[in-house]
């Protein structure tokens, strides 16, 4: 039913492009690589010329990053799967914007699942939102960054500073926002704890991640309680008291 997926490979390493091509031919026979490029400039030209369905895009290239390429391109009319090495920063950026990526050297299983997602019907606005956020975050401070949060029906773009706290609920995480909204996201609290580790967040308890921007006061009674500015009260784990004080001082 679906036409052949037309793919462009953009990576400055010929070996990577080579590998991807071979792997695609093996694991995704319905796709076809219509062009290759080894940099931002050549990649942009390629995309404009071939109008691909999907671009497999490297992050670090000699004349720039994949992010640069997307921001130059503007509104996307193709799907993107990022291909990256072990770049901690890039991975975090993808996660902030809920963008799929594949690590080098390429695990065929990862590639297949990424391709599957591409096949699913996705609002192109949604991808645009995500990519726009990715590009935007790259340009802004940590404090001003935004995160894509998705529940069953909706995609939200939330400024990190507007999150008061997160609460664990089995494999879900509940977000409490400044405007009073509560969002339920199907990712674990641990994942957000890691994602927000450069931000002003503190894991006060196994089930609670708080944004210290919205911290009001700490009370010793009942084994230690944190009061947030929205009036919510949270327990503090015994072992966390000292590091909480340290984190508050650092602020």
């Amino acid at each position: 039913m679906i036409d052949v997926m037309r793919i462009i490979l953009i990576d400055d390493d010929a070996v990577v492009r080579d590998n991807l091509k071979t792997l695609l031919s093996i694991y995704s026979p319905e796709s076809v690589v219509i062009a290759e490029a080894d940099g931002v400039k050549t990649g942009l030209a390629c995309i404009k010329e071939y109008k691909p369905d999907l671009v497999l895009l490297d992050v670090e290239m000699k004349d720039g990053t994949g992010f640069d390429l997307l921001s130059f391109y503007g509104k996307l009319d193709f799907k993107v799967i990022f291909v990256t090495g072990h770049d901690g920063y890039a991975i975090k950026a993808f996660k902030f914007s809920a963008i799929d990526y594949v690590l080098k050297p390429i695990d065929p299983d990862d590639l297949v699942s990424a391709l599957k997602k591409v096949h699913q019907p996705e609002d192109s606005d949604e991808q645009n939102l995500k990519v726009a956020n990715l590009v935007q975050n790259k340009k802004t401070d940590f404090a001003e960054q935004k995160i894509i949060l998705k529940d069953a029906e909706t995609v939200y773009l939330v400024a990190v500073k507007n999150i008061i706290r997160c609460e664990s609920e089995t494999n879900y995480t509940r977000f409490y926002l400044v405007d009073g909204r509560v969002l339920m996201v199907s990712k674990t609290l641990k994942e957000y704890d890691m994602l927000f580790d450069d931000q002003s967040f503190f894991r006060a308890h196994q089930s609670h991640l708080i944004n210290l921007r919205h911290f009001d006061r700490y009370e010793k009674r009942d084994g230690g309680l944190v009061f947030m500015k929205d009036g919510s009260t949270l327990p503090v784990a015994v072992r966390k008291k000292e590091s909480l004080m340290a984190a508050l001082e650092k602020l």
């Binding site: 390493d13 070996v15 050297p105």
Partner: protein, 607 residues
Amino acid sequence: MRLCLYGHQMISYLKSRLFLGGLKFGVLFLLLVSNKPLFCFELEEADSTSIETILVKSNKLLYNKTDSAKILAEEALNLSTQINYQRGIANSLNVLGVTYDINGDFAKSFSTYKEAVEIYNRIGDERGAANCQANMAILLKQDGKYDEALVYLSNSHDYYVKSDDKKHMASSLMTIGNLLLAKGDNLNNVMSKLEEAEAIVRNLNDTILICSSVNLQGDAYLKFNKLPEAIARYQTAIDIIKNLDKPWNRGYSHLGLAKSYLKSNQLDHALQNCVEGLKQYGVIHHKFGIMELYEIRVAINEKQNDLPQAIANLRIAQMYKDSIYNEKQSKQISHIKVEYETEKKEAEIASLSQQAEIKDLEIRQKNQTMVIGLIAISLITAVVYFVYRQRKFKDQQSRTELEQRFLRSQLNPHFISNALMAVQNFMLKNEAEKASTYLAKFSKLMREILENSRQEFIPVEDEIQMLTNYLDIHRLRMNESFDYNVEIDENIDVETDTIPPMFVQPFVENAIEHGIINAKGQGLIVLKLVKEGEYIAIEISDNGGGLIFGAQKIDHNSLSTTIIQERMALFNKSLKNKIQLIWDNIKDEHGEIQGTKVELKVPFSYL
């Protein structure tokens, strides 16, 4: 002139007579005391007996070995004091008094006697007190204190009368008579005492004492110029002991007769008695008597106008006088000497003990100083050691940490993922042989990096091996898009010259990743190793686009270059010859950039 001489002689004679008699007196008393049964505390009997034994011995030695006698008496005094045996103390003091007297220390002798008398009185020993006071009287008489002497002597006499001790009564009466005579009392008083004495001794029938009392009567008559009476008394005395071997008493009588006859100008009789007296005194070597007799002979010769004989006799008299004087003098001198030496010894002992004390103090002070010094030194050592260890530990820690970071930077994920992607690529292309070669080189490189990063110096050979491996892996991965050359100077012995490991690799990596990318045509990386003095200079050059200072290119590789800088700093801290690094562009004659050149100078050592 003659009279004067005569009077002087008389006094001397009397003094000598009484002195010697007195001493005998004292000894007699002492012996009596010692032999007397002791009424002391029974518990101390054994000790008191031994003390009395010592005193008897001391008495025996009094005139022959006065010093020994003194030592014994002192010992007895010590023992007595220890067991608080009062009679023993008093007896010892009495004997000591006699020794002082003999040594000519009259004052000390007197005070010692006095102490003894006090003790005798306290314990109610009247006999002891009486004997001792008799001795004191004799001392006082020698000093010309006749009245005092008489007081003491009459005390003694009272006791002898009370205890009906006839012999001592007589002796004390004779001495009293003698004292009165010396004092210049009238003849009747003197004679009454002497005649009372004579009566007692005649009752006792003691020949010697009768003789003595009669002689003393002769002296009294002689002094008052009643010459016939004097001659009669002396003659009586001679008759009494005519057949006895008593040269002292007989000599005394003849001397008296000679004086008396001289006074009455019966020169032949006088001379005859002189000769007889000299005979008697000669037996006992009584120098004073002999001297007096010769002086009488001088007077006789003068009266006979026999001047040569007078001079001869005068010379003899003078000789004896000198001898007596010398004896006395030497006695005094020796006494003084002994005292002086004792004092000196005591002073010496005192100074020695003081010195010992000072030395003791010094040693103690020295010890104290040493102990304090030792503690201080050990404290300082401990502190220094602690600081040193702390610093070493910190150094070690930072070194280890740096090594780990360095290792991580060498084994960075980017490099590994690139390498593994290459392997994946060969396999996907069914180039099994290439994949296998690549994998082998890669694992070899991994092993080399792990091994070499642990060493401080490795042979040049090993470093080159690793670099070649590294270059090969990249070359294979990058489709042999570059070539490389390694030029090692002949003066480097690759097996024995060692250098700090893996300083070169980051610059090679830089050349591959950034240098040759912009090469016109085939890339070329050249490694040159030359020995320069104490360094090995390593030049890494490429034919790429060269260095754009301050641009992204260098920043890009900042991780490994900062770590290189840190490693260099750490190495330089412990090395005499510092590692040096020069970055530059290679330019042709037109000033156009032909590539990048890095010169690294590392110190080397020998394996």
